[in-house]
Symmetry: C2
Subunit: 127 residues, 2 copies
Amino acid sequence: MVIKPSSYAVTPADRLDTTFAALADPTRRAILARLASGEASVTELAEPFAMSQPAISKHLKVLERAGLISRGRDAQRRPCRIEARPLAEANGWLEAYRRFWEGSFQRLDALLDELKTQEKKRGHARR
Amino acid sequence: MVIKPSSYAVTPADRLDTTFAALADPTRRAILARLASGEASVTELAEPFAMSQPAISKHLKVLERAGLISRGRDAQRRPCRIEARPLAEANGWLEAYRRFWEGSFQRLDALLDELKTQEKKRGHARR
């Protein structure tokens, strides 16, 4: 694994800005999903999209600047691969809020249970 | 808990776009962090920031449109509170990539262990 310290020198807040901005696009998220199954060249990445190679290249530049992908040195193919660190950092930020969604799902479950019980009671009353 | 189905009617991809875009700003993330400790009015939210209330209101509108906050009906205070669902969805998207960062941290650990072992060997050889 090659670690490039320069790409991690910006502040964590800046990195989160860049990461979240890069993820705020369906094509860029689809590119990452594709790269999750292995390295790919620009040509290979462009195939499933109704998009020109230059358009895909623009998205790749955004992902590369955000440190979400790196590109191989092979001059012809320059294969792209996923870089996990910014994803881990974004996940870390979101994890701090886990108690909120776990709490609200629990409240929703309780609400649904209550509605079911009320429905049953009403069903029995009608008989 | 009040569920507003209309705010969840957009496609999941659209919702992720809006969520990630809303999170790509340090002030908006700081507002969410403040709201994690409880509801707050615009005035209360503006206090710790070197920002006018209209500037904060703009950020609140972005967060509200993204479904990340809701606002109370009290006409005077209109307290803001955190809404967890979009955070849970963003977290869900990122979780699919967990194996990448867990994998790379393991590789990094292995690399550091290897370097330490080499360093020790070199230390012994010098004696």
